[in-house]
């Protein structure tokens, strides 16, 4: 495939890996006790975005990296961090008489406290999978006597398309369309992770698609205040390796900067029309609940008063119950990189892709689901050894 195969070239990967192999021991030897880290502890780099996690597993990037560097799979999978109470609200909306509930495909399997949307569909709710909120708006226009709700989900990547859909619905006077808004924003969550006392991160791979919308400047505090390097990276395997190399280079040279590996897509200032549409339609919530991480200030958005008629939470009464994560789940610690998925007590036992307890087992972008593929139950505690063996 044109413009894709170029970014999967194994020759270029070998070249980058050699550079990485040189940098890793340099960095570890140099720090020797500095900031409480010994030369034997690994270099931890977090990829914030679920798209990166998916590509890392799909291309086996982790199996190519040398010893001494570990990837922490961060909170950037919007499906994974959705709290159970919100899924219950979706299910309640979907079961309302005459309702057509529309959603992106991978949200179908997320477990609620009683049902997932997939189960709700099997039990008679009219749940339809769409590829864009505009599909949902079209369904509303084709079914004027029914209510149509779109399950709006995702970071700034998907926010603009939702915002434009609301603007169009208003312009065209569509009366039977609304959003159940679960859009979230990544910056406050990165900050919450950086403020966590048990944090051991050395640097970040920044989310490419989010940055395409918001630009580079929002990340400054990470470099300036927390002194951690962040490299915005693309989603092809070569982008990811290149991004890792750029992070390591910064660490080796004692720099902490915001760099952009994904210049072919991410403009410095973001996408002005998209930001404008987001600003028109959405405003920050005081706080939003994340599965595994708890409540984080200003980390979610809701629909502004001006567009209140398109807000499913205003139009319908949803249970809006807070459902605690199962006590045994350690998704939060995994998300912050404090423990590895296979260190969690329920990983691979009570929590599997068929019966996920925790958020990270739900989507293929979730760290636990990705690791689960790497070993059968008996071998689960040797998973890391297996990864190494394959390298």
């Amino acid at each position: 495939m044109k413009f894709v195969d170029e970014f999967r070239d194994p020759e270029k990967a070998r070249f980058l890996l050699e550079e990485i192999r040189v940098l890793v021991p340099q960095i570890r030897n140099a720090r020797n006790g500095a900031s409480g880290r010994s030369s034997t502890s690994p270099i931890y780099i977090m990829e914030v975005c679920g798209g990166h996690t998916h590509a890392i597993f799909r291309y086996g990037v982790e199996t190519m990296l040398p010893d001494g560097i570990e990837l922490i799979h961060g909170p950037g999978c919007p499906v994974c961090v959705l709290p159970m109470g919100r899924v219950d609200d979706c299910v309640a909306l979907a079961h309302m008489p005459g309702m057509i509930f529309t959603t992106f495909g991978d949200a179908m399997r997320v477990p609620g406290s009683k049902e997932s949307l997939l189960q709700a569909k099997a039990n008679g709710a009219d749940v339809r999978m769409v590829y864009s909120p505009l599909d949902s708006l079209r369904i509303a226009q084709d079914n004027p006597d029914r209510q149509v709700v779109f399950f709006a989900l995702g970071f700034e990547t998907t926010m603009p398309s939702t915002a434009f859909t609301v603007l169009r619905a208003k312009a065209e006077g569509v009366k039977n369309f609304s959003l159940f808004c679960n859009h979230i924003t990544i910056i406050p969550t990165i900050k919450a992770i950086l403020d966590s006392p048990d944090l051991q991160l050395d640097g970040f791979l920044g989310p490419g698609h989010v940055s395409m919308v918001i630009g580079n400047s929002s990340y400054r505090f990470i470099a300036d205040h927390y002194k951690k390097p962040l490299v915005i990276a693309g989603f092809e395997p070569l982008d990811i390796l290149h991004g890792i190399w750029m992070v390591l280079k910064q660490i080796a040279e004692g720099r902490s900067e915001i760099e952009n590996q994904y210049k072919r897509v991410v403009p410095e200032g973001g996408n002005a029309p998209a930001l404008d549409a987001i600003g028109k339609v959405f405003e920050l919530r005081e706080f939003f609940e994340w599965r595994g991480l708890g409540s984080i200030d200003h980390s979610g958005v809701r629909i502004r008063e001006d567009y209140g008629e398109f807000d499913a939470e205003r139009r319908f009464s949803v249970p809006a119950l807070k459902i605690a994560d199962p006590k045994s789940c350690q998704c939060g610690e995994v998300l912050k990189g404090v423990i590895k998925p296979w260190d969690c007590k329920v990983f691979g036992r009570d929590c599997t892709p068929e019966t996920p307890l925790g958020a990270l087992m739900v989507s293929s972008e979730g760290a636990c689901a990705a690791y689960y593929q790497y070993g059968d139950i008996e071998k689960i505690h040797n998973t890391k050894a297996l990864v190494k063996e394959m390298a």
Partner: protein
């Protein structure tokens, strides 16, 4: 109530055939009365057995001596077809229902001989649609040299099924000396496929029209018994064959690894997938290894026969794109590992449910 075509004798009087004179199929056509007989005569007997005027019995009758001439074991299989849309680039549900069941017989080393055809029709289906599908089935069966010898028609209320479901069962005879098995793969064996993977799954998803992509991708739906015959003639000690339908190549490879308790290693850069299918999967966030095929088989052959097997496949029109995609290993029993184009490695596991598109 069966519409039955006698195949061993033809001693009945010629009988007048009924005609359907309405444009759509209604519950009346499933009622067991004249309307049903008219539908069976006009659509099914017309398509499958227009020459025969044998009386209608409730079963097909097949001479055992006739079967025994082909081999020493009977193969018997059934499959139901519920594809939507009924028509898709490269075929329709009727072609699929014939080819799919033929292939299920052929991958066991059987010569496919007789099929049944049972249809469950949702009221409101145009008669012409049913007629067109029945004719496709008849033409596909004729081309493949198999006979549709018995059948059944049911009509159900709107909403009780989706337009049309078809079940075909098939019998064939396994030739002497052929003994294929999913548990027979041994370390060192070579894994072959007969061509481009994922076309059927991509064509169906695209034909559903959600994405409105313009692609030239067509279903690979085909009867593979000719190809399999060529392969088994060239390499009689082939270990195992399976058509990679639902769940795709990844699922079949996992079934082999599990049943034979071996490891399987495949190479992404040797796995033949057309660039349109790759692009389609990139856009939707799908993995082509899990897409359904309807004209592709996975073959496990001993290493010393690999070149002969590959040449035999390539010499057949349905195997021109054949390739060696990997081998059986003695480590990580039960696991399928893929060497990625990028140089990394990953486990290729069975899917938990169906593939769902990712949001971003």
């Amino acid at each position: 109530m069966n519409s039955v075509l006698e195949i061993t004798t033809n001693n009945g009087r010629p009988k007048r055939r009924g005609k359907v004179r309405v444009p759509t199929i209604t519950l009346a056509h499933g009622g067991g009365g004249k309307a049903m007989h008219d539908l069976i005569d006009d659509v099914f007997v017309e398509a499958f057995d227009s020459e025969s005027h044998a009386p209608m019995e409730d079963q097909a009758r097949i001479s055992l001596a006739h079967l025994a001439a082909y081999g020493d074991r009977l193969a018997f299989t059934t499959d139901s077809y519920v594809v939507q849309p009924l028509d898709f680039p490269g075929g329709n549900i009727g072609k699929l229902a014939i080819c799919g069941t033929i292939n299920d017989l052929a991958v066991g080393g059987a010569i496919p001989l007789y099929l049944s055809c049972a249809v469950i029709i949702e009221e409101g289906l145009p008669v012409e649609t049913m007629r067109m599908i029945a004719r496709t089935m008849a033409a596909t069966a004729l081309e493949a040299g198999v006979k549709v010898v018995t059948g059944d028609t049911k009509v159900v209320e709107r909403g009780a099924c989706d337009k049309l479901f078809i079940n075909t069962a098939g019998v064939g005879v396994i030739r002497e000396g052929v003994d294929l098995g999913v548990d027979k793969a041994k370390p060192g064996d070579v894994i072959l496929v007969n061509g481009l993977l994922g076309d059927h799954g991509a064509a169906i998803l695209n034909a559903r029209g959600d994405m409105k992509l313009t692609t030239p991708i067509e279903s690979d739906c085909a009867s593979l018994h000719g190809l399999i015959d060529a392969l088994l003639s060239a390499v009689p000690n082939t270990r195992f064959l399976r058509d990679a339908t639902r769940g795709g190549v990844a699922t079949v490879l996992n079934e082999i690894a599990d049943a034979s308790q071996v490891g399987i290693e495949i190479y992404e850069d040797r796995t033949p997938i057309r660039s349109e299918v790759k692009g389609f999967c990139e856009i939707l966030g799908l993995d082509p290894l899990y897409l359904a095929n309807e004209g592709k088989i996975i073959c496990v052959v001993p290493p010393e026969d690999a070149e002969t097997a590959l040449a035999a496949l390539k010499a057949h029109p349905l195997g021109e794109g054949a390739a060696k995609i990997g081998e059986v290993t003695d480590h990580r029993a039960g696991r399928v590992v893929m060497q990625t184009v990028f140089g990394g490695r990953r486990i290729v596991d069975m899917l938990v449910g169906e593939q769902l598109p990712r949001i971003c």
